[in-house]
Symmetry: C2
Subunit: 338 residues, 2 copies
């Protein structure tokens, strides 16, 4: 099969790799319908995380089941499936508590920028659609497997409810999907913090009612101006840097909540500041599997269209250009067609 | 009047001070019925916080109203009142959102180890009882104004609900009151982390079902043993040190919650660890005023008896011995009678 391999920062290539095989009775093999490049893939690409030995890349996928292990009964060959970047058995205590992305048997996906993928824990991870959906739905279903699931979780963790005032920190694909989630959950006011024209436009299309282009202390001051001086009920931190976390915490009102879904890089939260703020903080890898049936339904019924975050489509063989375009912020998110 | 003044670490004296006067129309003056020494008073007493110039001490009080400013109509002279260490107008946006301890007009009380006290924001802060309660209820009503209110908030912030498994980190007065709160909120299992015989006994009396005397990694391992390997639904952090916070976060299950009410001293939360734990974190100065009517009712109806945390009673003039006994852990909490 063909798949992307990272060799060093800035060096991602598509190579011929060994075809994936069923290794455990709980595995499935899918033929990838679509895959893509994630903002978190840029950390090693930019040399901000060690690359180590050359290894495959990618954790987002939708596809058609080709083969299943003997323990897999929930999906069958020929079915169109959506999964998650974190696999889960959907039966352990953490899964039952609603945190499949902390499944006791979790494996993070890491080989999905390829035309075939082995899915561990397939029984608990994959959700099949009733029939093969029209291709027009595929980008949004792919988004659901990661960025839309993560945006939803950010809103959930931040306690967004009908009437809430919401701030979204980060205008990448996850932040934009967070706007969709806040809108769907009934937020009255959604303030997107963004400095990029095309992203501001998409933010508005997804439901943002206000745009704040200032950052740092100035950004916080603007949010206070817009929220009666106290801050927002819910803040979605969708970046993962120390600056973004600080900004998010300071934009929330006393008793408000920050949902943080940007994978943190050198983030430390000051205990005293958090204490006196009364702000609640929860984050983590999104429990996508929990929300998958609902989100698939919202896509197929036309209520949400998160696939719009893909503003560049490339054949898998041109994955390197996908990374480059995202690194240079020429693209929000690059879709790859195997 | 007579009141306690701290001059330096280890040096607290009762002195004759100027009688408090109404300064603002929103003030009240109360004659103190009972006051006490708080664990947080020990920080400057131990020299772990700067003392600065000599200043009065104390933020816990119950008493009888002697005089009110012209804007105070909710309480009248002669009424017995319970308040909070943080004053609040009970009308601002933060108060309406349930966070009176973050009132836009908040003043922290700091002169209560005295026979008379000026209460700012009296209208929003003080709650009068129907009549002067029997003296047997006074210690518990005093507890409600701070440690019981704080224990309740810890349980609330940690999301304790019927059937929860709860861990309480810290066996001081607040931790012990956190056990009462967890029990009242219907927790099925309450694990107290305590190494002191007399405190373990009180913990059991208040509703603890298990005692864990190990600390740090060993303590976390014991909690995991007792909770099916995953940790507790809710953890109450009632200490405020970096070690206690680390222990609390590691005792919570994925998707669980930590309520932190120990005033943090040099606590930094690692963003990456918090992220992958999926644990929710919320703390702060307890919004005692929110819970006051309910907690007063629980005391006067005999459902809770948090006054048992006072295991030493001294006349106000012997306040120095109260600090010493608590510093040396000879007493959990010292009650002072003016």
């Amino acid at each position: 099969m063909r798949g992307a391999v990272i060799h060093a920062p800035g060096d991602v290539r598509v190579e011929t790799l060994e075809d994936p095989k069923i290794r455990h009775s709980t595995d499935a093999i899918i033929r990838t319908a679509l895959t893509c490049v994630c903002g978190s893939d840029l950390w090693p690409y930019r040399g901000l995380e060690p690359v180590g030995d050359p290894h495959p890349m990618g954790h987002e996928y939708i596809g058609v089941v080709e083969e299943v292990g003997s323990a897999v009964t929930a999906v069958t060959p020929g079915q169109f499936v959506v999964g998650s970047f974190a696999t889960s058995d959907n039966t352990c205590a953490n899964c039952r508590n609603g945190f499949p992305s902390n499944c006791l048997h979790r494996e993070f996906m890491s080989t999905c920028q390829a035309d075939h993928v082995r899915i561990p824990n397939a029984q608990g991870t994959l959700v099949a659609t009733d029939h093969v959906p029209g291709e027009e739905f595929w980008p949004s279903l792919l988004a659901v497997s990661d960025v839309m699931g993560t945006g939803w979780w950010a809103a959930d963790a931040a306690g967004v409810r009908p009437g809430s005032t919401v701030v979204v920190v980060g205008d990448g694909a996850v932040g934009l999907c967070g706007i969709i989630a806040a809108q769907q959950l009934g937020a009255e006011r959604i303030i997107a913090m963004s400095r990029h024209g095309s992203r501001q436009e998409l933010a508005r299309e997804f439901g943002a009612t206000d745009i704040v282009s200032e950052r740092g202390d100035d950004g916080v001051a603007r949010i206070k101006d817009l929220t009666g001086g106290i801050g927002a009920d819910s803040v979605l931190e969708c970046v993962g840097t120390a600056e973004a976390m600080r900004q998010a915490l300071r934009c929330a009102r006393p008793g408000g909540n920050v949902g943080f879904v940007g994978v943190p890089h050198e983030v430390a939260v000051d205990g005293e500041e958090l204490f006196y703020s009364h702000v609640g903080l929860r984050g983590g890898p999104a429990p996508v599997r929990r929300h998958l049936p609902d989100l698939i339904d919202r896509v197929l019924s036309g209520r949400i269209d998160p696939g719009k975050v893909f503003d560049l489509t490339l054949p898998l063989d041109q994955v390197a250009e996908g990374y480059r375009a995202m690194d240079e912020r020429r693209a929000i998110k690059a879709l790859l067609t195997p």
